[in-house]
């Protein structure tokens, strides 16, 4: 991602504190060193990346490392507290919580990746086009995007998800609709300022076509912002997906999913079986936090003033 930012020609002045010591970790892993030289922001990105990567990895290899089949009921007695046989205990259906925690990230990851892709595919071209076109076209898109943006996101996602019905794609669509305006707004405001830069003027004066100016001269400079928005949005998408699942609009009851485990655990609160909700809840937090950290670090690097 950093290569994208640097190669994009975006002249961001990296304000570095000179007294950053080179740490062991950064000298061990080449590539990390350039990140850690960016100070705290770099470490946030590294930490976030490690969190996200390990969750993705665990989810991917869970079929081989999970001690039990996560969907199978009655592998143990119901509601056993954590013990040596069931590390995180069992839920009310006698399913192994540990196995479910290992494999329960699949749906959330799929939904969030898909919704970010949809947002990118719609929000980015629309933002580029609208701000470049200007005038009435821009006014029109802005008004629509502002209306969606002002709407309580989760409420809108609920309405769409309720109509579209269950399914990974449907859930991703309902989340994407809510967040397209965020992409649109960021890209639009970026293009508005880039558009006025002398080198764009020069390209136009040299006779470059509108499409060329947009794709060759303006777009590369917007890429850093897109990366930042998309990372931050990953966290939002995950939390929204968890929320939709929690109120009963989840993808499927049969596939292990942290969101569903939390929904199920709510009924069991009174029994004091904390392990049924604690572990899946922590996993959602770790995943969302990972993306938030990456986003936080990247946006701080792209705009050092934020640090203050």
């Amino acid at each position: 991602m950093l290569i994208l930012i640097r190669g994009s020609g975006c002249e961001v002045s990296w304000v570095d504190k000179p007294k950053v010591k080179k740490s062991m970790l950064s000298s061990l892993i080449p590539g990390l060193s350039s990140l850690s030289q960016r100070g705290l922001a770099g470490w946030l990105v590294v930490l976030g990346f490690i969190m996200v990567a390990s969750i993705v990895m665990v989810t991917a290899i869970s079929p081989w490392i999970a001690p039990y089949n996560p969907s199978q009921i009655n592998v143990g007695k119901p509601l056993l507290s954590p013990n040596s046989q069931f590390l995180f205990g069992t839920n009310d259906l006698g399913q192994d919580v540990f196995s479910r925690v290992l494999s329960g990230g699949g749906i959330m990851l799929e939904v969030s990746i898909l919704s970010v892709i949809i947002c990118l595919l719609i929000g980015v071209p629309l933002g580029l086009f609208s701000s470049y076109a200007g005038g009435l076209v821009d006014r029109f898109f802005c008004l629509i995007m502002d209306s969606v943006y002002a709407f309580p996101g989760l409420v809108l996602a609920i309405a769409i998800a309720a109509m579209l019905g269950r399914g990974v794609i449907n859930m991703a669509i309902s989340i994407a609709v809510v967040y397209v305006p965020s992409y649109f707004r960021v890209i639009r405001s970026q293009v508005l300022s880039i558009k006025e830069m002398p080198y764009v003027e020069a390209a136009k004066a040299a006779g470059a076509k509108g499409r060329t100016v947009l794709s060759r001269y303006i777009f590369p400079n917007v890429v850093p912002s897109i990366v930042v928005v998309a990372t931050v949005n990953f966290a939002d998408a995950i939390l929204t997906a968890a929320g939709l699942t929690f109120i009963g609009l989840g993808v499927s009851v049969d596939i292990p999913d942290w969101g569903w485990d939390l929904t199920n655990g709510r009924r069991l609160l009174a029994s004091g079986t904390w392990w049924v909700i604690a572990y899946p809840g922590l996993m959602i937090i770790l995943l969302a936090l990972g993306f938030t950290l990456i986003g936080e670090g990247l946006s701080e690097m792209a705009n050092p003033r934020l640090r203050e």
């Binding site: 655990g265 959602i284 938030t292």
Partner: protein, 344 residues
């Protein structure tokens, strides 16, 4: 631009936004793939009953007629009839709304006061441990799903330690606060804290607060991160300004300088953010209400989803949308009133 011109133009700007919003909701419920009536009956299709429902709710008319019926209905404050029992959706929403409003107000107060306090504290110790700890906790709270935090609070402070009650707005054995009753004049807001004070019943007021505590703390805490960050960066800039130095030079205490002088200037962006965060707050309220069995509009929507009652869902979504637009309008007007630069 005078304040009056600003107010008028801002109100005029809200109208197309609400209109687009209404159209959007209509498109989502009526035009997206999935026939609401068919979905309502789910697997047990019953052609006669379905036909009757379509006729009763006007869903058999052409789409554009439905659209205008819907808009004119809204104009009269009519959100249609519920698919469940044909009762008035407007009535149901209005009876559930005060609970949500009360939760939203208290959560916002908690989020803002906590955000301002921690933000100020962080800005005082810029770059020090205190600052880093507050910043990191702000980031972490952002990543916590509000319903999970609600469940943890419920389990620890409610069911575990028995400090605070969990679920509903008052104990079942207590009557709903009646509000103000003077002779034949009756006035109640639906907000239990206010109604109990109007009734003059301190016991009910305390109970209402106790029941509000956990849900609003949950929602407020999750929302506070945004305000911490905003206050911190604004305070940091303001504290470096000359007039703050001048105040310090006059020998005023640090508390007076930060809260009495600097915070005044740093507060305006916080006000704008309050307007912007209100939409997020209502989204969070839906989840919080579900966690705490809080009988508000969020619970209403979730219930209606389970009954596949699409007219009610549509009504509630529209209501949420209009409410948020009005709140953001009010916040903007308040901002203009407080900040004379807007009027220039």
């Amino acid at each position: 631009m005078t304040l009056r011109t600003y107010v008028i133009s801002r109100i005029l700007l809200t109208i197309p936004m609400i209109f687009i919003l209404l159209t959007m909701v209509f498109l989502v419920i009526r035009v997206l793939p999935g026939d609401p009536v068919l979905l309502h009956f789910e697997k047990q299709e019953n052609p006669a009953a379905m036909e009757a429902m379509r006729r009763r709710l006007g869903l058999d008319k052409p789409l554009w007629v439905q659209y205008f019926d819907y808009l004119f209905g809204l104009f009269r404050g009519d959100l249609g009839e519920s698919m469940q029992d044909y009762s008035s959706v407007t009535q149901q929403i209005l009876s559930a709304f005060p609970a949500t409003l009360e939760l939203a107000i208290f959560s916002m107060v908690i989020a803002v006061s906590m955000g301002i306090f921690l933000g100020v504290e962080a800005s005082k110790g810029y770059g020090k441990t205190r600052d880093s700890v507050i910043r990191i906790s702000g980031i972490v709270t952002y990543a916590i799903p509000v319903f999970f935090l609600g469940m943890v609070f419920q389990m620890v402070f409610g069911l575990g330690l028995h400090w605070l009650p969990v679920g509903l707005r008052l104990p079942p054995r207590i009557d709903i606060p009646s509000g103000l009753n003077v002779g034949s004049v009756h006035f109640s807001t639906g907000l239990y804290t206010i109604d109990s004070l109007l009734e003059g019943n301190v016991f009910k007021f305390v109970e209402a607060l106790r029941y509000l505590a956990l849900p609003s703390l949950t929602l407020g805490l999750v929302l506070s991160g945004v305000f911490i960050r905003l206050t911190r960066s604004n305070m940091f800039e303001t504290l470096r300004l000359d007039y703050v130095t001048a105040a310090r030079a006059r020998g005023l205490s640090e508390t007076t300088v930060t809260y009495g002088y600097a915070l005044r200037n740093a507060f305006l962006p916080v006000l704008t953010m309050m307007g912007l965060q209100f939409a997020t707050l209502l989204g969070g309220a839906i989840l919080t209400e579900t966690t705490f069995s809080w009988p508000g509009l969020g619970r209403y929507i979730v219930d209606r989803i389970n009954f596949r009652d699409y007219t009610a869902i549509q009504g509630a979504v529209v209501f949420f949308g209009i409410f948020v637009s009005v709140v953001s309008l009010v916040v903007d007007l308040l901002y203009a009133y407080l900040d004379p630069r807007i009027r220039l």
